[in-house]
Symmetry: C3
């Protein structure tokens, strides 16, 4: 494709040159995997709630556990189910890390640090989040979850500092 053709395509489609860029293909793949992993944890919470018949509100019990006695509902609403809370804690840790990665990963990719550097940072982060989730949900003995969390954030810190140096306050 000649230069003018490429320019026309960029002006028309707005993004083909982005989609064809290898660094962006890496970003897209890792962003989607992390988002799908996070949605899996959300669904897993719902699964655990139905498996243990433990819900968060009165209308949930009325809608999904209509035969449960009122006293049992009151008791369940006052308590916390440790299995459900474990999945929710895992999910909250995702919320503390994945949305930040989705932005800092994109900005880091935009600074043109080279495919190898991007690939390394993204793979470390994604692998760490998977280790964190598996360690939390099974659970595995510590420090597996701690390493998943801390190495993943270090990958983010590295990307954020390198990107910050390209910025201007």
């Amino acid at each position: 494709m000649n230069e003018t053709g490429r320019t026309r395509e960029m002006a028309a489609g707005g993004s083909n040159f982005i989609i064809e860029n290898e660094v962006f293909q890496l970003y897209i793949a890792h962003a989607c995997i992390n988002i799908l992993k996070m949605i899996f944890v959300a669904y897993y919470t719902v699964f655990k709630r139905f498996a243990n018949m433990t819900f968060s509100t009165k209308e949930d019990y009325e809608g999904f556990a209509a035969t449960m006695e009122k006293d049992d509902v009151k008791k369940k609403l006052a308590e916390c189910d440790p299995e459900v809370e474990r999945v929710r804690s895992c999910h909250r840790n995702d919320l503390e890390n994945i949305p930040a990665f989705l932005v800092v990963g994109l900005l880091y990719a935009l600074t043109n640090p080279g495919v190898d550097a991007v690939s390394l940072h993204f793979r470390v982060f994604t692998l760490c989040r998977i280790i964190h989730t598996v360690s939390y949900l099974l659970p595995l003995p510590q420090p597996s979850r701690f390493l998943g969390f801390s190495v993943g954030t270090l990958s983010m810190v590295s990307m954020a500092i390198q990107t910050l140096l390209m910025g201007k306050l």
Copy 2:
């Protein structure tokens, strides 16, 4: 505008060609509506806290409820107000969904899937989040909140899988 003029504009403004793109206009509108809806829930939490005089820290009671007796403050800090907790749970569900949508929606739009497909996914997601919020805050009987949550996430899963296919690990 001729090709060179458009290129110069892109190089100068950096984004007019993005703003003029119909798919991006859809993205911008849905992104902002979801963000504003989420900020509304944040303000509604503050409103409920002041309406019920239920705060989360000692300095809040000192600053906003100076006349309240110390024993009442201690009691309030140890308990949870169910109305405030309801708004916070609604907000947390937003946090689990909206930031992920903001990124996956943008990436999906970048894969050029056509205006109709983008419009369908975005409208389903936004409508579902509004249904979820209304169902949680009023509250409406289940499964209205459950449908709002699950159909909204399915729209995200569909976008994430389609986008993932354009990526490269």
Copy 3:
């Protein structure tokens, strides 16, 4: 650089014209500072957990406090440490604000509102988040934390409404 050279660079690197744009340099700097601030709060939670030997799961006590007696572990798991909860509440407020800012700030910058307007909105938001964090962690008397939160969200509301007007549902 002539027009063709710049176009070739855009097609090749995909983003230098973005990185050289003053508004994007502002965005990159503020985005990274807010992300690094949020990661600091995450690490501070870990620090507080180790300082107070208060963890969230059984395997944490087995891995990091192996000498603690079983009854003490059970008691600690049933309770909440107010210092740890304070950092977690601060972190949660970050989650409610910073990921939304990261997206709405970028979209607002894309609408070409001028460097001064972007700079004002970003500086107000970042300063407010720092005030919020300091006010929460020290803590400072109210309304310092309340002002940090509410003025920061107002900056976001202003950006979101201005950006929404460029969108199309």
